[in-house]
């Protein structure tokens, strides 16, 4: 409770213990994953056999380290491509949406705003199957009637990108709109008053103001795409992104290579997340 409220002496200790247990609960799974990627053993389990980097670097018949595992490295590449495309598309749509909802007034705006939010409450699986079904329908229709075969409408990377884009763009819209809402319109007027053209105003005033939010949502979109599973699983074709490859491996039985990938992911996404927090924190015009 608040410091100024009288309380029994046992209470703060119990409370602190609870919070501590909670954070142990939060960190434990990540910690074991990380630790066992460095264990000199064929299985990610106790006992501890000593420290090794084999699961990253080795290339021997019985041990293939992460960096020599062609399938995993290829799927990381696929994931990078997908995530970059999703991030760019989502942020572009999000910027347009932010200006639409924050700067324009038109009939049916609130209805449209609700519709824009709807993908947040649709389970990822359903987004996946609906995009899959629609894509196939269009592709079949075109093939049957016109003999045109649009390969990208069949399960594959394009569909994965579209499926992920369908909900990630909503989240980016929320982030960028929130920033644009805090923008003082007088700054644009001031720039116009100082002789800037409309385009100059956008380039030199509005865009720099949005920059932290844009960078932040690029990172968010990138990470969400990278770790997405549900939507991706239905839409995936022959090139599997990392999560799909890892899932398959996990079913085959775990090896410390999976721990190694996980550690790599943790370091990379942790770094990106910190970067996004840093960018948000440095944004000007707070308060």
């Amino acid at each position: 409770m608040i410091a100024s409220i009288p309380q029994s002496r046992a209470f703060p200790r119990t409370y602190l213990a609870y919070v501590t247990v909670f954070f142990v609960f939060l960190m434990a799974p990540l910690l074991v994953v990380a630790v066992f990627s460095l264990n000199d053993s064929l299985f990610p389990s106790l006992p501890w056999q000593g420290f090794t980097l084999d699961w990253f670097l080795a290339d021997t018949p019985e041990r293939t380290g992460l960096f020599h595992d062609k399938r995993i490295m290829a799927s990381i590449g696929v994931s990078l491509i997908v995530a970059s495309c999703v991030a760019v598309l989502s942020v572009l749509l999000a910027i347009s949406n932010a200006f639409l909802f924050e700067r324009q007034s038109f009939r049916g705006k609130s209805l449209l705003y609700s519709l824009m939010l709807v993908p947040l409450v649709i389970p990822g699986v359903i987004l996946g199957i609906s995009v899959l079904a629609f894509g196939s329908n269009v592709a079949n229709g075109l093939e049957d009637n016109y003999g045109i075969d649009l390969e990208f409408l069949r399960p594959g990377l394009t569909m994965v990108i579209l499926g992920q884009f369908s909900f990630i763009s909503t989240i980016c819209t929320l982030v960028i709109s929130a920033r644009l809402r805090k923008f003082d319109i007088q700054l644009e007027e001031a720039a116009l008053n100082l002789g800037a053209s409309r385009f100059d105003v956008f380039r030199t005033i509005t865009l720099p103001w949005l920059r932290p939010a844009i960078i932040g949502s690029v990172i968010v979109a990138f990470l969400m795409s990278f770790e997405n599973f549900n939507t991706t699983l239905v839409l995936v074709g022959s090139d599997a992104p990392l999560t799909i490859t890892m899932f398959d491996r996990m079913r085959e039985g775990s090896t410390p290579v999976l721990n190694a990938v996980s550690l790599l992911l943790m370091v990379a996404s942790g770094g990106l997340a910190l970067l996004s927090i840093f960018v948000q924190r440095k944004q000007p015009g707070r308060g």
Partner: protein, 292 residues
């Protein structure tokens, strides 16, 4: 053209240009695809490439106990997960928003966020390493002499629940912290001052105040749990009986898109219903609850 007219027409062009991407997106990625699965769910394949209208797929759902039981089980467990997550997260959110000061406050908040920047797959994998027969906890218990042989802690409902709560935590903590942050300490003090006790202050002041955060947290957690696939499958094993699994099975393994679409529509109806119910009960609007 006068300046005003020119400006107005410029404004209209801008509106049109900004409206276009959103409309295209909503139409082709949200509206039509969902109509498509609705359409697919309402047909039956008669022969190759020939379909006719049918409610058979929905009939199958209600007549096959495996289907509707799985559906109910998923719904109940999702509600339960949401409730547990709320109860577990609330004290944590309160601690971060009101008890922790200065630096430790932002460190704790960050600590809450960090696990969720890592793929759900990795998190679930961590739980598997901890809980399985050859896992860390089992080994520790044996070393300590508390049990004689290996203990299998995977593949049961409690474990699935733990995994689901774990995965949902962030989505409850963040909205709670942000609403509790705005709660003026003096309101709580006033509640005490006016003769209330801790429970009263919580019930009469804190919870009503935090309601928007509670609602949006609950909606998101419920949605994510309902649509989850990895956690129930990996922690619950073959018999986890999660409804999303059924959808995937129909679509990927059995290639029965008609049945899969029907399941998808049913899941969508369920989730919309729960969201609507949550908003009604708490008198919140959809845009308020989601737009945070």
């Amino acid at each position: 053209m006068s300046l005003t007219e020119r400006w107005l027409s410029g404004k209209r062009v801008a509106l049109f240009l900004l409206l276009m991407p959103l409309l295209l997106y909503l139409f082709f990625l949200i509206l039509l695809p969902h109509l498509e699965i609705l359409n697919i769910s309402l047909r039956e394949r008669v022969s190759y490439g020939v379909y006719e209208f049918s409610l058979g797929n929905y009939q199958a759902f209600f007549t096959e106990p495996l289907y509707w039981r799985t559906f109910l089980r998923t719904a109940v467990m999702s509600v339960l997960t949401t409730a547990i997550t709320l109860v577990v997260a609330f004290p944590i959110a309160w601690y971060i928003a009101k008890v922790a000061q200065g630096k430790s406050r932002s460190v704790l908040f960050l600590a809450c966020l960090i696990p969720f920047w890592v793929s759900e797959l990795v998190r679930t994998y961590g739980w598997m390493i901890l809980l399985r027969e050859t896992g860390v906890i089992s080994s520790l218990l044996q070393t300590l002499g508390l049990v004689d042989g290996p203990v299998e802690m995977l593949y049961n409902d409690v474990t699935v629940m733990v995994g689901l709560v774990y995965t949902s935590m962030l989505f409850m903590v963040v909205p709670l912290v942000s609403t509790l942050d705005g709660l003026d300490d003096s309101l709580v003090e006033a509640a005490y001052d006016l003769g209330g006790n801790g429970w009263h202050a919580l019930k009469e002041v804190v919870i009503p105040y935090a309601m928007p955060g509670i609602v949006s947290g609950c909606i998101v957690v419920f949605m994510l749990t309902l649509g989850n696939y990895l956690t129930p499958t990996l922690l619950g094993g073959k018999d986890s009986l999660w409804f999303t699994e059924q959808i995937f099975t129909q679509f990927i393994t059995r290639f029965n898109w008609e049945q899969g679409s029907a399941f998808g529509i049913l899941l969508l109806v369920l989730s919309s219903l729960m969201v609507w119910l949550g908003l009604k009960l708490s008198r919140q609007s959809f845009t308020e609850a989601m737009g945070r």
